[in-house]
Symmetry: C4
Subunit: 337 residues, 4 copies
């Protein structure tokens, strides 16, 4: 892993410093790039919100081999972790590898370890195109995410996403305020419940709505009939001073549990962070920047090794908190005092 | 904008470092200069108070084109932002441009983008003189601010300010403790309600009182008959360990809403900060140092580009919080937890 | 003042860095020297406790010329500030000036500006000897402080202190844990109420007990018949992780007001800090390190200029908070939120 | 002591920087090495939890010679401090001294000053072997700690530990998640109450269970019949984001007082820290890294000098808080506000 990170540090020079802890300080304001928008407050909030929860260490029990396999939206996954949709290698990551090589590494590396990678969307066109190709090449085993374009562009893309064979489609609504896209003249926008219903109806498989940060939006998403939401502030790249995902997750989980699958995304760096989000109500989590760094630095191998690290850490944290299964994580393993 | 900032960095050398985030750390104690007084606690408090409020990101709605135009004291403005009164280019900003060029850029740049600039006062005389000239040249489209001088000096200046054609006049009462002026032997002082009434009566147009930081002072200002107050600690330049504007704004707003127009000033750096102050009760905000940097670095163009940036950011934050109009901002878009 | 500080920086090299803000960070653990003991937590706590209180800025009033003169223990002082007892120029401050020159500067500089300086005690003998001489030379106008020695040494020194002509004598009980003295084989110790009564009886003038940090100790001090207490953690030099003076002052003031004169000491750097301690219940304050730096850097002139600075700042803060007199400071000028 | 630290700094180069304050920042993530796991959050939490408690300084009393001798598990100790079990000089500390020289210094230095050292366990075999030899050479005067191995390995080692002559045996259950051991293929694991009872029964002397961080685990430990527990997060080396020992100690103490001897371990650097943990409910404390540094830097002399320092500091803090005996420390000497 150390070699992979060093390689990434070289290839991403000027775009990502591959810091010892990826926390949004060094790259504050670097959009495009890997940073958070403005002061990077929202990026840092994701990490701060996770760090505010700490573990109650428990050792008098018999959980020696915890279960980390889970099922999400009908898919059996080797661990409750998905690679988040991130694209734009050339302008966000320095272009040290091609968009196609990058996204293929993400999809194939995830698959090799028993989970799924998501693909991103944006401008220029090859971002979603290479993503769709990678998923198609994997027999549909990946989740294409579409940005919240206006009018026909959106429905056209949803159709093409389904043509890849994917039976889960996502839309990152949190991109609706993305500075870079608006500057390129390709408007994205918020959606009303009525619009969301129309979008949902256009997807024959499962539909994930990413970018839900309030209980109100979560309830509207449920009303619109989506299958899953992702609690996410888009990695702090759209709204400076947005709250952190782990801050708002518990109330959202309480409001929609049983109705929606709840995913969470933002600031996850280790298996311990995964366990925290599960304890706060997530069914599974998405990880963003660390997968990008691993993919640029080590392609498929990098993605696999990062997943190995996460699995090992997750298991150990479960042992040390007496958590037998990711499907049933006791909130009491955490303290926020 | 990047070029303008770089130019400002050169011209303001030794007076302002044009930091990535203008937060009062690097320049602590630099009065004269661009810093906060003493430990710069009051300067930093303005930023900390704003940062303590964060946004609830909302995306399931139909606010795609928010309204940022507003009307303040009878003036229709393209956005709820005024350029705060700051003078003294030579001793505060390094003298890289002349006082006249600076203040003209501020007044004309603001006008070009549909809002108003304020002019400052102080010692030497040319500070208010160049300000008055710039407003007169703009047909009275600017707001002259007078310091709280003692006796005839004050009334004499108010008269001359009105002679520029301006129909809104301000007094920055928060300058009553200004170290630099007292050292120069030109006393400024607090004013009783009785004095304020006399001052108000001497102004035929609208009158703004700047430097209100408590509910008690706000109520006395209302009693004295002013049209508007500015919640401001004078950029942290008069009282170390004063509170931040955003801290005290909500209670002041609650006490005088409907009676007075409430402006707020202190630590505003981005369109998101503008939206926060509106949500906390301001009708419009003033921005200080960033306008000075933009004016020194790029004259009229600098001011215009800074206003473009603020407008874009404000719109985007409104989209991402579901805020349709600056005239009606829901306090619930903010959290202070 | 700037020159004086630069001179001090040279003379105190290796002992005090004369930092822009004297806050205990750079010199942490430097005892002997000018630092706080151990992690310097108690030194820093003095500053943090003061910083936690902030001012409510008030400008609509008629306090244009506030009164800073006060009377403490029968002495009329030009401002409510005393120079705290600090000795040991050679091992604490680098020895750039002699002990005699230093303490004479402190006593004479204080007198010249209308207040009193205190002298310290310790090992070697010349610390208290030079202090006693300086007070005697000033006709008894100074306050000698004696350490809490055991047995005859204490009573012997109290007698010699009174022989200087001073009619106020102090004991810094907070020195009872001083590491440096114990290592030199000269034990100091806590005192019971019985012992304190005997000590009090040995002093014919007023008696000040320094080092009271709890309500319980303050009540016992009153029971022992002392005239005044100094709320002080000995500049953070005896007990790492002691609380800050400004933290404990309000409760102590509430418990003994009307019974004892209450002085406070710790972390005062500016006139604003003086005003804060008065608002929290002190009748006057002591300032330590800044006087030492001023005395080493500029002898009598240094002490005078530092007092001028404090007086100017105190007046300005009183104007900006609407405080008419130091004898009657409204606690409501502060907020601790 | 200064020389010893400098020597340690040389010998531990690349493994420990021997920082002025040992706080886990510089070495974050260095496992193996001397750091905390991951972000070192749990290492830092130990220090932060202690720092959050501060002393109420008391000086009006007659505690001039406090008592620091105590009795723990039937042993009379000169102070309530034990050297914690740490091994692995070569991979954790740089190998500047041999494992045997290191552990002998720890055991003999502790004994020379009237207390006991603990020995560690791990991979390779010589870690526990040299520890057992050092205790045997000291006539059983030391406490061997065994890791929570699975099956026969555990019972075999317990037997060999008792063969050293030691009549107190410990198990660091907190090692159950140790990354380094698992990677070496030597599994350690949590234990159920049933397993703990079997382990307890295999020890004829006293048995200490290390790694209890919740009230629930403490009650289960009591049920299993252990004699003492150590509240410890394993120096922050097994679970990133575990809580600090001083945070959880009061509740654990309240739950098992009178039933179990309670030791605490984590972040203790000074005599003041020792006193804090006693005030929070510990009967005695363990100190880890500082002993390792002292032993590497000065062997037996280093350990003795560090113990001298701790004793002096402990006495002084007791004087300054009016604490007469370590056997009866008033919780009210602390404040957590």
């Amino acid at each position: 892993m150390k070699e992979i990170l060093e390689n990434a540090r070289k290839l991403m020079k000027g775009y990502c410093r591959v810091c010892p802890v990826c926390d949004g300080r060094a790259c504050a304001g670097e959009v495009p790039g890997m940073g958070g928008l403005g002061t990077a407050s929202a990026f840092k909030a994701n990490l701060a919100a996770l760090a505010a929860y700490r573990f109650n260490m428990r050792l008098v029990h018999d959980v020696k081999k915890p279960q980390i396999r889970t099922t999400i939206l009908g898919k059996s996954l080797s661990l409750p972790v998905l690679a988040a949709p991130i694209g734009g290698v050339s302008f966000n990551m320095g272009g040290g590898v091609s968009e196609a090589a990058y996204i293929e590494a993400l999809i194939q590396g995830s698959l090799a370890k028993g989970t799924l990678g998501c693909t991103g969307d944006g401008v220029p066109e090859f971002i979603h195109q290479t993503g769709f190709q990678a998923i198609q090449a994997a027999g549909g085993m990946g989740i294409p995410f579409i940005k919240p374009w206006e009018d026909d562009e959106l429905f056209d893309k949803l159709e093409r996403a389904q043509a890849t064979g994917a039976d889960i489609i996502g839309m990152d609504l949190d991109a609706a305020g993305l500075v870079t896209l608006r500057k390129m003249g390709r408007p994205v926008s918020p959606k009303s419940v009525t619009e969301l219903k129309r979008i949902r109806a256009a997807v024959s498989g499962k539909f994930i709505l990413k970018g839900v940060m309030t209980v109100a939006d979560a309830l509207l998403a449920a009303e619109a009939g989506v299958d899953a939401i992702v609690v996410s502030n888009h990695g702090g790249r759209v709204l400076d001073f947005a709250r952190g995902a782990a801050e708002v997750l518990p109330a959202i989980h309480a409001a929609v549990k049983g109705k929606l699958t709840v995913l969470a995304d933002g600031g996850v760096r280790s298996g311990g962070d995964v366990l925290k989000l599960l304890a706060l109500g997530a069914d599974a989590v998405m990880i963003g920047r660390p997968f990008s760094v691993a993919a640029v630095g080590g392609l498929k191998t990098g993605v696999e090794q990062y997943l190995d690290k996460i699995m090992l850490e997750l298991e150990q944290c479960m042992v040390l908190t007496g958590t037998a299964s990711v499907a049933d994580v006791d909130p009491a393993i955490l303290t926020d005092s």
